[in-house]
Symmetry: C2
């Protein structure tokens, strides 16, 4: 054994939950990200990026009862060798893009033009225990519109329209049957209060079970309702359960929605049952808003967007419209794109009401699923359109000039580093480069180009040749 | 004071060392990143991205005596609430893209095609003490070519050619006077040994002072040489110092280089002085390699690239060609793009020689400098080319259709959310959107479009109008 062979070797291995792709897969990921960016920009959304970190206090400032849940997932940074007296604020990697957006909007408030339409496509981190299919580092693609004081409801309709356009035209997604499901939290919230369910813990357990209805079926929800009714004697037991179950099962296209809801209200005499004017008002407002949003989306293909009253979203900051997006053939995979409207984005930072509406593509989850399903052709391992052969060392300058001429005309061109012609061609083939260019091997000959797919080889001029 | 006003407010502030831009600056940053990516791809480099983290052992596996220096800058991750028995490997944010590249190349070795030409544009992190102008999170744009066993020297010339093309054509950089300085470490190393300076500590202190010659002048280097000569009686004192000083002051264009070096060797009788055949061989090899690289770059504009024998780079893993890039008007700002050739990229992981050559644009430093110098016009706060006015609520469908027609033709289009016409126009103006589209306000009228720069307003058809 030689000294070299004895040297200890550290076998590199993937870090669980931190995905990484080979060049050919990365090329498709780039196509996807470009496509998403292009679509977002085509609607006038501007890009922002925020640092990967926020102060830990900012991460925790997030309202609602999310705090405890969030804590478990947060990665904090430590300098490996801290110096004495190091009094920097603790920094943590952001776990979503909404918390940084709130801080950003407040911090740069005076420099932003409202309504502020921004997109953000960055990595986020969640330090969960590693498990199959869960990422600890992943990319999200978010769009949000934020305004001061009030935000027109049209934006609630713009979000799913953009997402539909984006997702349905992603390369490789053409055959997938996806559906955006929309609801409005005011409907279920108002309805529960209308029926007399007012305890916030009860409401939370109902919404959590409604949220999971597709994954775990209706039984859990029914059991929760039964137990709530047990300790709330004022409720009319059976009809309450049936009514709630009936409501959350409503799924409707834009043309059906208003009729269905009207029928539900009349048939069940909902207005008369109501024990709270405010609650019924809320309920009706939610229905009107959702009807408006659905109406604005009626130009999309049948089934692209449905009103689905089981959609409530787990996060407490949503106050109106909520969205989820599923594969119709595999709804158990969960939502690949979710969001909603919130009344007050940055109340921890600024004495202004900043209502907004946003939606987020879970890019990495979506991409990884398509990859697992072999949805992509991964032949090309290089962005090069053309590989320029090196006839011999004396003709290197000619090969370089040829490549440069083609580059100036917009082609991506790799020049050969030399070697036997057969090996040069094998290299182009292995990289999946679609065209091979042959500069003249002797004076007086023409340039030639070979189509690697068809094998066809023709005379060509680098100044004029086109694909 | 109302309850709302009394609520405590957390004033958001920037985290020192973690830059973040307003939308108009981000737009230019995107232009820059797109431009760099496009140029890299035009030479056939493929993109890879690696996770933000590596196992701490991998980060530390980096050879040479870099370990201690590196440790100070490394950020390790901790889950905020670790669970009992949590035995995950410690993870650290990468502080460059070379360490991850080495691990990546070894890990995916069987799936890569060599020579492996990759670019990588990602954030890296260095947990230094915060100081003005130093970033703790920043973006680097790297290209590297790696091969198995040997790597042709042509690639050493391709690197500065690509970098010259990239940097000189970045929007806003047109007027900057930048220069790429190239050397070959074998020249200085061989020369020192030729003269009898063989102690590795001595060599290290000389190279460190040569490396800083532009920042701190020649005196430090001279003092170092004096002290080395004191403890190395075999050296001929004065001539040694003068010779080294003369060598590292050599700066030459491609046409001058060979002549100058030949003159230096002959005039100083270098060959005869040499006390080591191996050293003089190394010295000559370095000169030949550098002459070859310079010759291959002779097509670039005068002064774009110079051979500069004071360039040595601090990092030990470079073994041949080395690069730096400076603003000629402000060389003290330091290098904005550096790199070099290394013989053995991944010897910690794999029993194969993987020589490579690479160069890295310090994107954030460069961009921040241009921003400080107000090099950019930041009028546009939105990617939208066209803002479509909403004539009135009844014509919203028409406005949306108009926008969609324009989008399908490749324009970025924002539709107005409504309100008084004057305010709609003010909004477009504030966002710096160059064109405003007026759908007909009544049946029978034409569409019109206004150029916001010139004020010109003309009739137009959304299906055919062009800028």
């Amino acid at each position: 054994m030689s000294a070299k062979e004895k040297k200890s070797i550290y076998k590199p291995k993937p870090v669980s939950g931190f995905p990484e792709w080979t060049p050919e897969v990365r090329m498709i990921e780039q196509q996807w990200l470009d496509h998403i960016r292009r679509t977002f920009e085509s609607y006038g959304f501007c890009s922002i990026e925020t640092p990967s970190v926020e102060e830990l206090d900012v991460i925790r400032a997030k309202g609602g009862d999310g705090g405890a849940d969030v804590d478990k997932e947060v990665y904090v940074l430590e300098r490996l060798h801290k110096e004495e007296g190091d009094k920097d604020a603790r920094l943590a990697l952001h776990f979503d893009q909404t918390v940084p957006l709130a801080r950003y909007t407040a911090q740069h408030f005076d420099k932003l033009v409202f309504p502020f339409k921004r997109y953000q496509m960055q990595r986020v981190w969640r330090g969960e225990r590693p498990q199959a299919g869960r990422f600890r580092e992943f990319t999200q693609c978010d769009i949000d519109v934020i305004n001061v004081d009030t935000l027109p409801l049209h934006f609630d309709a713009e979000m799913p329209a953009i997402i539909w356009e984006t997702l349905s035209s992603l390369p490789g997604m053409e055959k997938e049957n996806i559906q955006i499901r929309v609801s409005n939290r005011k409907i279920l919230m108002g309805f529960l209060k209308t029926l007399g369910i007012t305890d916030s813990k009860d409401i939370l357990s109902i919404t959590r079970n409604v949220d999971k209805i597709e994954k775990q079926g209706q039984e859990e929800l029914r059991c929760t309702l039964v137990s709530i009714i047990k300790h709330t004697p004022a409720l009319a037991p059976l009809s309450t359960i049936d009514l709630i179950m009936e409501l959350v099962k409503i799924k409707a296209t834009s043309s059906e929605f208003s009729g269905l809801l009207h029928d539900f209200i009349v048939r069940n005499d909902v207005i008369a049952r109501s024990i709270s004017d405010e609650a019924i008002q809320n309920f009706k407002e939610g229905i009107e808003e959702l009807a408006f949003v659905m109406d604005q989306l009626s130009h999309l293909p049948e089934g692209a967007v449905v009103a689905d009253l089981s959609i409530v979203r787990g996060l407490d900051y949503y106050t109106g419209t909520v969205y989820e997006t599923v594969f119709l053939d595999d709804p158990g995979y969960g939502s690949i794109c979710s969001g909603g409207r919130y009344d007050d984005l940055a109340s921890s930072y600024i004495h202004k009401a900043l209502p907004g509406v946003g939606i987020s593509i879970g890019f990495s989850r979506l991409f990884a699923r398509m990859l697992d399903n072999s949805a992509f052709e991964t032949k090309r391992k290089s962005p090069a359109d053309i590989f320029v052969v090196l006839p011999n060392e004396e003709r290197r300058a000619l090969a370089n000039e040829t490549a440069q001429t083609l580059r100036k005309r917009g082609f991506n061109v790799e020049t050969s580093h030399g070697g036997k012609l057969k090996r040069q061609l094998a290299y182009a083939e292995k990289k999946g480069i679609p065209y091979v260019w042959f500069p003249p091997f002797e004076d007086g000959l023409d340039h030639e180009i070979k189509n690697m797919d068809t094998g066809e080889q023709i005379h060509a001029d680098p100044a004029t040749w086109t694909i």
